[in-house]
Symmetry: C2
Amino acid sequence: MSDRPTLAPEAKRKVLRSIPYGLYVATAAGGDLVAAGTITWLSQASFSPPLIMAAIKVGSRLHAAIDAGGGFALHVVGEAQQDLAAAFLKPTSLEGGTINGLAHEPGPAMGAPILAEFPMWCEVKVVGSVAQGDHTVFVAEVVACGVRDDDARPLALRDTGWTYGG
Amino acid sequence: MSDRPTLAPEAKRKVLRSIPYGLYVATAAGGDLVAAGTITWLSQASFSPPLIMAAIKVGSRLHAAIDAGGGFALHVVGEAQQDLAAAFLKPTSLEGGTINGLAHEPGPAMGAPILAEFPMWCEVKVVGSVAQGDHTVFVAEVVACGVRDDDARPLALRDTGWTYGG
């Protein structure tokens, strides 16, 4: 830590863990790759055009599929769907035409896999990125969206007992 | 919308407004500029090095001060401090050595103004950015942090009655 003499690890952890997050299952398809994974580091980043920013783990299959496909899909996890979010913490499994057990169809804008079950989803197209850490920041334009359940309440990371940050 | 035939505005708004956010007062100093503003589009973006990503409005004084100074400070707004968050929605006012009425001192790592009153803060150094929308995505390394009130609970955007997104 000699290059950051003022960065106390406990304070850093406390500040960074104070940030609230939702839970999202991200999917991408590109080349021969199909990948899916649960992520939490996500925020809107512009109104016009509508952009989001998402941090995706370097070296992950999801990262490789985003690189290959140029976009991805995000699914909002509903408050009763922690089991689904947990399923997508595991490696991507493609069996019987499903992704980790869920049916899917190609998204209308980018062809990213749109998964069944989740109450809301969007497809995004990457327009820029910053690769400086153990996650790459992808900035992406929202190009398609769907709402299947108007009354769904999103699951928050703090409701799960999980932590990711600090 | 002819270039985005599948993007229904209502669905886009609903998906984007489902993302949870905190509230942060950002400050920056560079050249002759000192600026402060309340922001909400913020997430961690890497564990090692510790990075955050923040979307800052293009054309704002805060954006100009970050450009000039190469870093900024973030203050976590506590649950009883909505009035302070509101004060920093107004233009930056420098009177009597205060910023919008709050005392401050230079941060230990970047010299960004660290404001009194807030329960937690950090200083960050910009390491990359993406300028594609009406906000610039700044990716920045956390280089100093402070916790003044271990028991503070952060204010969430949804607790304020305000919206910023969609």
